[in-house]
Subunit: 240 residues, 2 copies
Amino acid sequence: MRDVRIKKYLKKMTYSYAFGLNPTLELVRAKPTRVIKVLFKNQANRYKEAEQIRFLCQQNNINYEFNNRLIDKIAAKENTYTVGIFEKYEDELEPSADHVVLVNPSDFGNLGTIVRSMSAFDFKDLALIRPAADIFDPKVISTTTGALFKIRFKYFPSFDQYADQFEFHHCFLFKLDGKSTLKSTKFKPPFALVFGQETGGLGSDFDKFGTTVKIQQTSDTDSLNLAISASIAMYKATSI
Amino acid sequence: MRDVRIKKYLKKMTYSYAFGLNPTLELVRAKPTRVIKVLFKNQANRYKEAEQIRFLCQQNNINYEFNNRLIDKIAAKENTYTVGIFEKYEDELEPSADHVVLVNPSDFGNLGTIVRSMSAFDFKDLALIRPAADIFDPKVISTTTGALFKIRFKYFPSFDQYADQFEFHHCFLFKLDGKSTLKSTKFKPPFALVFGQETGGLGSDFDKFGTTVKIQQTSDTDSLNLAISASIAMYKATSI
């Protein structure tokens, strides 16, 4: 077992926390070699997931302990019964798979919800263009309900670098003033669904990278929430 | 001007707050007779929306004042420059329009995001089956970015009462095990898109009310977030 000083999460730490039964179960199932330790409260024993987690811990030589005090020290919510402590890691994206690309996402909730939708629609590869929210923040992990551990993700310093590395991906750039409608767009793999930040969206400097697409909506409205736009696009791109 | 004691929001109060420039602008635009007063901080003057709000206040004999102290007392976020104080109200749903029906929604963020998507996809009528989150909670209003004031909504004590009142609406009941796929579903007006609560969804006792529909997704996943499911359904139902 590797030893870490357990304290409230900070972005600069080399490890993070999965709070809750489902996120912890997905963590030990998908990334067992990254798990440092699992913490339980007694109340976790009411749920079958706790037994599954302990079974997987035993199979993978992962330490676990019952420690209410430590959980209360690091968890934001009172009813957190399980915490998976794990080393942060990096992935490489799969070059032949379809990608989701988020340019400068800043909201933890949106990022987590998008990862959850990716898992539902079988997208496994997420590119994050910096500056971008910290995907290892426990708030993101909770919102994904554990789906974070089923996907691959990678941070890129700029969109150019992403586009250089995956030059054969056709980019669909989602914009309020996109030239194609989502309804009429045909998605031929491998493709990338690209979304801008919550407030500003994608600037016109992105247009050269591919096809701009708009999700049809009433004109007198504020735009859709980012997680909603991304999820509708994923639904449409996979519902052929 | 009606006088109210201005304090932090509580569900039992007969009035509520729209925090932020856009929500306040939508409030004074769509519901001027409900507005009790508008509060500004000096920083609001940097934005053209503040001027539009004051213009609408003058046109509608709505009082406004600059009062940093009062805003700090009631707002959750430090950078709130504008607050619209308004009397709560009730709507009747339009019988000939398509509806969105949420059975026991509990999460403020989901409720607000769904209202925002309704506005984007031109759904104007929302039925809420109790117990349900308080749609006048300022957290909901902020998440709608003001779209709340553009739609009609009504609480019902039970789904039966909703279904009795709108017996000619065809109900599409969204469930993980729905019989039809969203892709193959034809939406003929007037219809109602019906969604269950965040954790449990709709029970089998709802099946008799109409057509059960599933949004196709990978089987090994947790279900989609409620706001995502509802928004995808609205997109599909209007994208004919």
